[in-house]
């Protein structure tokens, strides 16, 4: 567990209440730890997980600088080390989101896309079938006059009409005499 009691003025040997009584690297360690914790939470959320790589790198860099500063003066390195570990884990989670997105993209291309195309085709077929049996009414009103056109586009009716037309039209012999 990190030792958070290192900011004690007695430990640092600086006068109590002084503005400069933080051990070297601790301010950077605090900043790195805050950034790392926030990044860790962000990295797990799929929507923004990928972009969490940027603050993760910032947290790791801050922690590394904090660690080197603390090493130089022999101060406690617990805060920068904690920040470094959390930052690296957050970066790895964030980086893994790229693979997760890639796998989902692949799966979409291979499996779901076919299903979606099939569903769209089914919907199109249903719409066309409904249109085949639809009644169309057009009403135009202009200057007190009303024109109403009403028709249906029923497929069965069109078949009947075609049959009627065939019956009405006399069958013509279009063969050329003498040619078999």
């Amino acid at each position: 567990m990190e030792d958070f009691s290192t900011n004690n003025p007695q430990n640092t040997g600086l006068p109590s209440g002084s503005e400069n009584n933080r051990p070297a690297g601790q301010t950077l360690g605090i900043a790195a730890l805050i950034t790392a914790i926030v990044t860790f939470v962000l990295a797990v959320i799929p929507c923004i997980g990928i972009i969490a790589m940027v603050p993760a790198v910032i947290a790791v860099v801050l922690a590394a600088i904090g660690m080197s500063q603390a090493s130089r003066t022999g101060a406690s390195r617990s805060l920068p080390v904690a920040a470094l570990i959390i930052g690296i884990v957050a970066f790895m989670i964030s980086f893994s989101q790229i693979f997760v997105a890639g796998r989902i993209g692949d799966k979409f291309e291979r499996e779901w896309k076919g299903d979606i195309e099939k569903a769209v085709e089914d919907v199109q077929q249903n719409v066309l079938k409904d249109l085949e049996d639809a009644n169309v009414n057009i009403r135009i009103e202009s200057g007190g006059e009303t024109v109403e056109i009403s028709t249906d586009v029923k497929k069965s009716n069109r078949h009947d009409e075609l049959e009627e037309l065939e019956k009405e039209t006399p069958v013509t012999d279009d063969t050329i005499p003498g040619v078999k």
Binding site: F4, S16, L33, I37, I48, L79, Q97, V100, A101
Partner: protein, 150 residues
């Protein structure tokens, strides 16, 4: 008997030093970030779809991710429209509980640490353990999603 100015100064300096302790600073910063998340959810209305944060995952893959609709869900929870919040994101409530409990924990742990400085080490230990368990419970669906596709 009135306290001497020297003792008043000593108490003031002691408090000032306590407030500048790393644990308190970290707690204050995290509480501020959580408040900013709640502020963001309150500022943007769920009825007007004007959230500036877009889903990077959806932009890349074209497929919505398990955290899509989380901003809507948070906004609706803060406005008391819980049923609608579940419609937007089924995990919205558990993530909201994580943030709300973290805000509560930051305030409580900081005030306990300020009042009883000798308790700081066990407090940090309890805080870390409780936060980790809470995180795992609340974010489990997202973690499972990552592990599933790796």
């Amino acid at each position: 008997m009135t306290p001497s100015p020297e003792s008043n100064n000593a108490v003031l300096l002691s408090w000032r030093n306590r407030i500048r302790e790393p644990y308190i600073v970290i707690n204050a910063a995290l509480a501020l970030i959580i408040l900013m998340v709640f502020g963001y959810s309150l500022i943007f209305s769920p009825d007007r779809n004007e959230y500036p944060v877009v889903c990077v995952h959806e932009k890349l893959t074209g497929v919505p991710c398990p955290s899509c609709g989380l901003s809507h869900s948070f906004s609706l929870i803060l406005r008391g429209r819980i049923a609608e919040a579940y419609d937007w994101n089924i995990y919205g409530m558990r993530i909201f509980i994580f943030f709300a409990s973290q805000l509560f924990m930051r305030i409580v742990f900081s005030s306990v640490s300020l009042k009883h400085p000798y308790l700081e080490k066990p407090l940090v230990l309890y805080d870390g353990t409780a936060s980790f368990i809470l995180f795992m419970v609340c974010f489990m669906p997202f973690l499972k999603g990552i592990l599933k596709y790796l």
